[in-house]
């Protein structure tokens, strides 16, 4: 029994001893040890910082997504990569406003839908009030309820009515930035502004939205004016303006269901006609898929950072190997003595391996600290809420230490073997 217990105990003792010796050695050569670990430090610091920032970004992004746009769906026209329509010009495949007629009746998972004609080449963008003119306004044609899909609820006045749209009335919403720039009163309902030679009655005021929300629905940062879709067609005289559509599903769970319904519906409505089996000439995208896209991008960034970290770890490992070789050569007599008084080969090997391991872990620790510091500094300096949420996840810490361990063992092996193989007689004679 005693013998059986002896083996693992001996091993643990060896490990304990080696650790004890190694820490003593590293402590004795503090400056050198710190300099040696620079490569490891940079590697670990860079990867942990990037991962921390991405984690913060991700967390914030997902939170925003939940809050602002989890149910939002985009419908855009595209040129298919295959099939007979692949050669058609993108411009010629744009939607017809009529293609969406009846979508709310046919797609049961939808709660709201709106065509959106953003400002384009034909859209006037100068808005006048009295003798004031504001240039560069985004005049956008929308359907009923669009202000809710794009997260710009009407804070004053009323939303568009059915008649506003079907009659093509010259009514509009302005956002608070445009209102203030035009020098309108806070309560500007009923005031008349001039756009493209037409007088528009302001019926509502919308707020600007936070940056986070804008990421999910677009725009919202000021200088916007919304007019009924039909009015937009009349104003621009364009029967087929560049447009896309946005919809909102009943619930987040039904978001993918809604996407399928819309796809089915759109296939029957698209002009030119789609034959069975032909690829779509449009895309229907839920926010979910944008989140996935975001995840792919962040994964790529992580991999790039990982590559940088990998190179630094490699260089750092070579640094460690170099310093360990120096150490072995400096301590040749010590090794000779230890062997003379009974240290076995494995004891010497372990001592030096553990030393290089601890050096690497030490570098990893400093790297983590630096990564943490960098993350905090970036969070503070950028004044971004998103980056302030950054933190280093546990798995990254464990992975960093794991890699440090591998580097320590791989690059410590050659010096340790060199030490192990020293002949005690020769070693004791070494100057």
């Amino acid at each position: 029994m005693k013998r059986l217990l002896n083996a693992p105990l001996l091993f643990l003792r060896l490990l304990y001893q080696s650790t004890y010796l190694a820490i003593g050695q590293i402590w004795a050569k503090k400056t050198r040890s710190i300099l040696t670990t620079t490569g490891i430090v940079i590697g670990v610091a860079s990867i942990t910082t990037v991962i921390a920032l991405l984690t913060g970004l991700k967390k914030q992004t997902l939170a925003d997504f939940e809050k602002w746009g989890a149910r939002t769906i985009w419908i855009r026209h595209t040129v298919p990569r295959t099939g007979p329509k692949r050669k058609i010009d993108w411009w010629n495949l744009r939607f017809w406003p009529e293609e969406f007629e009846g979508i709310m009746e046919r797609c049961k998972s939808l709660v709201r839908f709106s065509r959106i004609a953003p400002r384009d080449f034909y859209t006037p963008y100068v808005v006048r009030y009295g003798n004031k003119a504001v240039d560069g306004v985004n005049v956008t044609g929308v359907d009923l309820g669009a202000e809710q899909i794009v997260n710009r609820p009407v804070i004053l006045g009323r939303p568009f009515s059915k008649l506003d749209n079907s009659e093509g009335r010259y009514v509009c919403f302005v956002d608070v930035v445009l209102r203030d720039k035009l020098g309108l009163d806070k309560d500007c309902i009923g005031d008349v502004v001039l756009v493209g030679g037409k007088s528009f009655v302001i019926i509502g005021v919308v707020d600007i939205v936070p940056e986070q929300a804008a990421r999910w629905t677009g725009g919202g940062q000021g200088l916007e004016m919304f007019i009924p879709f039909r009015t937009y067609l009349k104003l621009t005289g364009d029967r087929r303006p560049q447009m896309y559509a946005m919809a909102e599903s009943v619930s987040t769970d039904l978001s993918e269901e809604a996407v399928s319904e819309i796809k089915f519906f759109m296939r029957s409505m698209r002009k030119p006609r789609l034959e069975p089996g032909e690829p779509d000439t449009f895309t229907v995208q839920s926010v979910q898929s944008r989140v996935e896209q975001f995840n792919r991008v962040s994964m790529m960034m992580t991999m790039v950072a990982g590559g940088i970290a990998g190179i630094s770890l490699l260089v750092g490992g070579i640094g460690i190997m170099n310093i360990m070789l120096v150490s072995v050569s400096e301590r040749t007599r010590e090794i000779g003595l230890r062997k003379a008084v009974g240290a076995e080969k494995k004891a010497i090997l372990t001592q030096f391996l553990v030393e290089s391991l601890i050096l690497c872990f030490f570098g990893g620790l400093i790297g983590l600290g630096l990564g943490k510091l960098l993350t905090m500094v970036i969070g503070k300096v950028s004044k971004s809420e998103v980056l302030a949420m950054a933190h280093i996840p546990l798995w990254t810490i464990m992975m960093a230490f794991g890699f440090c361990g591998i580097v320590g063992i791989v690059f410590g092996m050659i010096p340790a073997i060199k030490a192990m193989r020293l002949d005690p007689i020769e070693a004791l004679r070494h100057e």
Partner: protein
């Protein structure tokens, strides 16, 4: 450990026809050329000879740091020639205490930590190594210097620490290679008195030296030349023999 060493009629070390040949290029150097020695328990032995006489090689072989090319070496009844490296390390650890000319203390460690080193590699000495090291330092009269580092100690004190380190595993043989080579005459005297004292306590001691004064403390003197033993006799007879043949016998023989 000690009882095992005395199994064989009190014989600890038995060398028969030991040769050690180094190959340097195409040349062969016979550092040891057929050496026979028997060392019993509690002997106090000096090995003398000029450099190149083979005494260092003998020391390495006796200390299990080197293996004979030919011949047999039994330590406490065990054949050392056939042993694995790990077993040799064990023998060095448990049964042989080394004392070196240049002390070989590790500079970054205190005296007591230096003395503990062999216990780190010992199967039995790990637990309570502090107490054992302390006891060993007391034996060499350095209990007041335990926490000093080597650079805070005098030469004599350093060698005492080294002797304490050699004794800490209670080896059957203390092997000293020119232990006073780096010391002045006064310190040499006090170190040799320490060896005498240890011998009186029952310690087997082998000293390799080229100094007559040092060898004078031993009870038996082996003289070597060209890898061979040419004289092996008790100290009194050695004194007489070498008195008749002059103070530098090697030169007379040559």
């Amino acid at each position: 450990m000690k009882q095992r060493a005395s199994d064989n009629n009190g014989v600890i070390i038995q060398l028969r026809g030991v040769k050690r040949v180094y190959e340097v290029g195409v040349d062969e150097i016979h550092a040891l050329d057929g050496v026979d020695i028997e060392i019993r328990e509690n002997e106090y032995l000096a090995v003398m000879g000029h450099s190149g006489s083979g005494k260092s090689t003998l020391m390495n072989v006796l200390g299990c740091l080197d293996r004979p090319t030919e011949g047999s070496y039994e330590y406490g009844g065990e054949d050392v020639t056939e042993m694995e490296d790990a077993e040799l390390a064990r023998i060095r650890n448990e049964r042989i205490g080394f004392v070196f000319q240049s002390f070989e203390l590790l500079p970054q460690m205190s005296a007591i930590k230096n003395v503990e080193i062999p216990l780190l590699y010992s199967r039995f000495g790990w637990l309570g190594r502090g107490a054992k090291a302390k006891k060993s330092l007391q034996r060499v009269g350095l209990e007041g210097r335990m926490t000093h580092r080597p650079n805070q100690l005098s030469g004599g004190e350093k060698q005492r620490v080294a002797i304490a380190r050699a004794l800490v595993c209670e080896p059957s043989v203390l092997l000293a290679d020119e232990p006073t080579g780096n010391l002045d005459s006064k310190t040499t005297k006090s170190i040799m008195e320490l060896f005498d004292q240890l011998h009186q306590q029952g310690q087997t001691i082998i000293i390799v030296t080229h100094e007559g004064d040092v060898a004078g403390h031993a009870k038996r003197i082996i003289r070597m030349k060209d890898g061979k033993i040419y004289s092996d006799m008790p100290a009194e007879r050695d004194k007489a023999a070498n008195a008749s043949s002059g103070a530098v016998p090697e030169e007379v023989q040559a």
